[in-house]
C-alpha cells in the first residue's frame, strides 16, 4: 500500500471523544489505550464504507437510485460475519399483505380428508381402530 494512501486514511473520520463514549457504554470495559481507540475508529470507518458500497450495489441491481433500508438489509445478509451480529438489530421489515393472502389459499387446498363425507356402502377406516363401545368384544379361545 502506498504511503500516501496510508497517511490519508490514518486520520479516521469519527470524533475520538464520541467513539470512546460509545465504547465505555459497556460496563465491562476498563481502560482503552490510544492505539485501540485509534484502531476502533479506523475499523468502523472501513466497516461503514463496506456497508455503504454493498448497499449501493444492491440498489443498482434493483435499478434504484435511492439506497433504502431493504437494500441495506440484503447487503447485510450477504456477508456472513456482518449478518451474524447485525441482522437482528435491523428494524423489522413491514409485513406485506401478499404473504397473508398466500397462506389462506394454501389452507383451503389442504382441507383435512376427515371433513369429506364417505362414499355410500363404505366404512371409514378409522372405525376399525376405534375403542369398542357398542360393539361386542373379540373373543379369544383359551384352551
Amino acid at each position: 500500500m502506498a504511503d500516501d494512501e496510508a497517511v490519508n486514511l490514518i486520520r479516521p473520520e469519527f470524533p475520538t471523544g464520541r467513539v470512546k463514549k460509545i465504547m465505555k457504554l459497556d460496563k465491562d470495559i476498563n481502560k482503552v489505550n490510544s492505539e485501540a481507540l485509534f484502531l476502533v475508529s479506523c475499523s468502523t470507518d472501513l466497516f461503514l464504507r463496506f456497508l455503504a458500497e454493498r448497499s449501493a450495489e444492491v440498489a443498482t441491481e434493483k435499478k434504484k437510485k435511492t439506497v433504502k433500508l431493504d437494500h441495506l438489509r440484503t447487503a447485510v445478509k450477504r456477508h456472513r460475519p456482518t449478518s451474524d451480529f447485525l441482522l437482528d438489530s435491523l428494524p423489522m421489515p413491514a409485513e406485506s399483505t401478499q404473504a397473508v393472502g398466500r397462506s389462506v389459499t394454501d389452507r383451503d387446498r389442504s382441507r383435512p380428508v376427515a371433513d369429506k363425507p364417505a362414499p355410500t356402502g363404505t366404512r371409514r377406516i378409522d372405525q376399525f381402530f376405534c375403542k369398542p363401545g357398542n360393539e361386542s368384544p373379540i373373543k379369544i379361545n383359551d384352551t
Binding site: V19, D28, V40, S89
Partner: protein, 144 residues
C-alpha cells in the same frame, strides 16, 4: 430525545462517508442513513466487547491495539484485519517519530560514531571546514 444521539456516531460523519462511497447522483433514504448510523455504532460495541473479553481472560485491564486486531480476525472481519494491522504499525511508527522529535528539542552530546576505514586510518571528517566567506567589496565612486 437529544440524549440518545450521544450514544451514536454523529450522523454528519456517517453521511459524509456515504457520500464518498455512493456513486454520483445516488441518494440514500433518511431511514437507511439512520440505520447505517446505528450499524456503525453497533459495530464499535461488538468488536470492543470481543477485545475486552480477551483482556479479561488474560487478566489485563487495558485494551490495546493488538487486542483490536485479534478481535477483528476472531469475528471474521479478515478483510479489515489486514488493513488495521498496517494502520497499527503506521501509528506506532508515527508515535516513535514524535517521541524522537520531542527528544531532539533537548539536544544531548552524542558520541561520534567512529568507523575506521579498511586501512586503519582515522575516519575522514565528513564535515568539511566551513567554506571561506568571499568578501565582496562594493566599489563606490565614479565610473571611470
Amino acid at each position: 430525545m437529544a440524549g440518545e444521539q450521544d450514544r451514536l456516531l454523529p450522523i454528519a460523519n456517517v453521511g459524509r462517508i456515504m457520500k464518498q462511497i455512493l456513486p454520483p447522483g445516488a441518494k440514500i433514504s433518511k431511514e437507511a442513513k439512520q440505520t447505517m448510523q446505528e450499524c456503525a455504532t453497533e459495530f464499535i460495541s461488538f468488536v470492543t466487547g470481543e477485545a475486552s473479553d480477551k483482556c479479561h481472560k488474560e487478566n489485563r485491564k487495558t485494551m490495546n491495539g493488538d487486542d483490536m486486531c485479534w478481535a477483528l480476525t476472531a469475528l471474521g472481519f479478515d478483510n479489515y484485519a489486514d488493513a488495521i494491522v498496517r494502520y497499527l504499525h503506521k501509528y506506532r511508527e508515527a508515535e516513535r517519530e514524535k517521541a524522537i522529535q520531542n527528544k531532539a528539542t533537548c539536544p544531548q552530546d552524542k558520541d561520534e560514531e567512529s568507523s575506521e576505514d579498511k586501512r586503519g586510518h582515522p575516519p575522514q571528517q565528513t564535515d568539511e571546514a566551513p567554506t571561506p566567506v568571499l568578501e565582496f567589496s562594493v566599489k563606490k565612486g565614479d565610473k571611470s
